[in-house]
């Protein structure tokens, strides 16, 4: 099969490209102390929160944008970005789906996410973030009965200040890195989840983010806390409308798992990747980190990354508690001129800690993709174990696939294994599928899906379906 044909198959129009026409209240571009004060004031935040933001801002001013990633993009003008936008009636937030702006619901429909259906049928509570402000939160009652708090981070700052003070910034400190510091200064919204001791969250929690207003940076802040023996599964899914300007996204996600707690965090990321010439597209600089504080706690990251022009993202686990477990399962697909530098860090501190990393990268078109990972075994992490499997698939001869795994092992009782392969789609596999009457396009999809199977099976059911759809697979889960 000719390379050009192969490229045709993976070059697909971005299906989620449309703009919702909802008036936004947006501050003029630029960032200084007054912008931060404006955001904090808009949110009705207490003074300590403003001070926290300003502290982050001052540290950010002293920091430099990281340059070590295998990424190439023009410098970002932080003064050209608008740091706040909200739907027009923030004080008049809809309390049920009936009150939600029909245009927003329509948008979700177009994305193939029938919100109410999904919510009702699948029992998923949805905290929909639209232009940085929570628009609707459902299933509050059921969660409330279980003692689970699931609300916007803004509400949490107002309603649960003690929890925020206790946990915010303890996993990702304000000055952890350039983008985390920026986020800490200007974050506008995001989710807060608190699952009390012994509670298993009765439903999967889900939030769909969108970036909509042009030139608006999106700075979510998510904090999830599971007390002892608590469990939660959290889904984050993202798509964005087609835009020409690059949009900056710098989210921070912090997870805290106490003794025997389990947090599963799944992401499907499908933001606008830019056009074939690399024009437009989201710049995605994300800091995600989980802290396994308690013994036998477990944090699992699963991500399917298909969007964004630039991805800089390393969901990590700090394995502090004895016998705690960290997991990272990732599928990343890049095409066109997308660039992704992604991977994970597993920091083993406690005795008997374990981590698993499975990373599958598919590079097509003129895209470049890097796996960058760190496995660090500290001197006290007796008997720690890591297994890493890291495979790259190349489609076409103009893409690049790179692997940069760091392993720092300071304990002789540790066992660390890393395997990586890079190859292209097998011609003989394609021929076999086609000789069974399956079109070339479907054959590529099937083989790519098979390549990603180890990761997809880690996704919650609804997400797995979406993920496969994202890779344009026509096979349905009817059989099996």
């Amino acid at each position: 099969m000719a390379t050009e044909e192969m490229e045709q198959l993976v070059r697909r129009d971005y299906k989620e490209g449309f703009v919702t026409d909802i008036e936004s209240e947006t501050v003029p571009p630029g960032l200084d102390e007054s912008t931060i004060a404006f955001i904090s004031n808009k949110k009705g935040e207490p003074d300590w929160m403003l001070q926290w933001r300003l502290d982050a801002y001052h540290q950010w001013l002293k920091m430099k944008s990281p340059s070590w990633a295998h990424l190439d993009y023009p410098p970002i003008d932080y003064q050209a970005i608008s740091y706040y936008s909200a739907p027009k009636r923030p004080e008049d937030m809809p309390q049920s789906l009936d009150e939600v702006d029909p245009k927003l619901l329509e948008t979700y429909e177009k994305l193939g996410i029938p919100l109410h259906e999904r919510a009702a049928l699948a029992g998923v509570a949805v905290d929909a973030v639209f232009d940085s402000v929570s628009v609707t939160t459902t299933f509050k009652k059921e969660l409330g009965e279980a003692g689970v708090i699931f609300c916007s981070i803004s509400d949490a700052i107002r309603d649960y200040p003690e929890l925020i003070k206790q946990y915010l910034g303890t996993v990702v400190p304000v000055a952890d890195n350039y983008f985390a510091a920026l986020n800490s200064a200007v974050f506008t919204d995001g989710s807060f989840v608190f699952v009390p001791e012994g509670v298993t969250c009765p439903m999967e929690l889900s939030t769909y983010f969108r970036i909509n207003a042009a030139n608006t940076g999106q700075f979510e802040r998510t904090l999830i806390i599971c007390e002892s023996r608590a469990q939660v599964s959290y889904l984050e899914g993202c798509t964005a409308p087609m835009r020409d300007e690059n949009q900056l996204h710098a989210a921070v996600v912090e997870l805290v798992a106490l003794e025997d707690a389990y947090i599963k965090y799944s992401t499907v990321q499908n933001w606008y990747p830019g056009d074939e010439n690399g024009v437009g597209g989201i710049y995605n600089f994300v800091t995600k980190r989980g802290d396994c504080r308690g013994d036998r706690s477990r944090i699992s990251w699963t991500q399917v990354e298909t969007g964004s022009a630039i991805t800089w993202k390393y969901p990590s686990c700090v394995l502090r508690g004895k016998e705690s477990v960290g997991e990272f399962y990732s599928v990343a697909v890049t095409n066109g001129r997308q660039q992704a530098d992604t991977g994970t860090k597993m920091i083993h501190i406690g005795e008997g800690t374990r981590s698993y990393i499975v990373s599958k990268g598919i590079s097509a078109g003129r895209s470049n993709q890097s796996y960058r990972g760190l496995v660090k075994i500290g001197p006290r992490a007796k008997g720690a174990r890591n297994f890493t499997q890291c495979d790259s698939l190349l489609i076409g001869d103009t893409s690049g696939a790179h692997t940069f795994p760091y392993q720092e092992i300071g304990n002789s009782t540790a066992t660390v294994e890393h395997e990586a392969t890079t190859s292209k789609i097998g011609e003989d596999q394609l021929f076999y599928c086609r000789s069974r009457g399956i079109s070339e396009e479907d054959a590529v999809s099937m083989i790519v899906n098979g390549f990603c199977k180890d990761v997809f099976q880690e996704l919650p059911m609804e997400f797995a379906v979406e993920a496969e759809a994202l890779l344009n697979v026509t096979l349905e889960g009817a059989v099996g």
Partner: protein, 250 residues
């Protein structure tokens, strides 16, 4: 049904088929025999559309359509199916998915909708029982970790589900013990009917004790040098290829 005329094929600049002629009618079972390197596998690969084979002259038509102009999958959708000598492994892709995708692709080509899931499952269960395979095979990745015999059974299973008009089986008997051979042969025989044709490519006569062909062709050095009925295969067994050829072509 299938008409191969004066087919010349080169592989990496070397001519493998040198003017091959073959006509297969509906309802017939043909066997092509010949020594190693005669071009047996080349013929079935060219009909299925494998890349790397250059047709320098000649034609292949299937039910009046020019096969050489068809895409690989179009050939399969039209009912031309190749059973491989060495089936490839496809990690992560379950057998059941491949069967479903292939069947529905064929139906779509005929303008039919997808087969409903229950009906599909019923069909597959029936066929897998016929092939005496464990249903767990359906959940395993295509051919991954299968033994040689399991791979061959799997090829026949696909034939039974996809019901091709012309099934081409390339050395389907290699690597099979007697019991497996019987199962495979029974599977192939169950495909025989007046509307369907089967092309067997084989090195040994053994298979033809179980699947009795209507026509036997001897392929040597890129040409069919002798044709006959099932008796010819038995003669080959006794006399060997060289002697058969040295007889003046009658």
């Amino acid at each position: 049904m299938l008409e191969v005329k004066d087919l010349h094929v080169t592989v990496e600049k070397k001519e493998i088929l040198k003017g091959l002629n073959l006509t297969i009618k509906a309802g017939e079972v043909h066997a092509i025999m010949g020594p190693n390197g005669a071009g047996k596998s080349t013929l079935s690969a060219v009909i299925a559309g494998k890349e790397g084979y250059e047709v320098t002259s000649g034609s292949i038509t299937f039910e009046g359509q020019d096969v050489l102009e068809m895409e690989i999958e179009e050939r399969a959708q039209a009912g031309l199916l190749l059973g491989f000598q060495y089936p490839v492994e496809i990690p992560g892709v379950k057998n059941i998915y491949l069967l479903k995708a292939a069947l529905n692709a064929q139906r779509a080509a005929r303008g039919e909708g997808d087969m409903p899931a229950p009906e599909f499952m019923k069909l597959v269960k029936e066929k897998i029982a016929q092939m005496q395979m464990d249903p767990s095979f359906l959940q395993r990745a295509v051919n991954e970790g299968f033994s040689g015999g399991e791979k061959k059974r799997n090829e026949i299973l696909q034939m039974l589900v996809l019901q091709p008009k012309l099934a081409m089986l390339d050395e389907i008997d290699s690597g099979l013990d007697i019991d497996a051979m019987r199962v495979v042969a029974d599977g192939v025989n169950s495909l025989r009917d007046s509307k369907r044709a089967i092309l067997l490519v084989t090195h040994y006569q053994r298979l033809l004790d179980y699947i009795v062909p209507d026509k036997v062709h001897v392929l040597m050095d890129g040409r069919i040098v002798k044709s006959g009925d099932a008796e010819l295969a038995k003669e080959l067994e006794v006399q060997g290829y060289e002697d058969i050829v040295e007889e003046p072509a009658a």
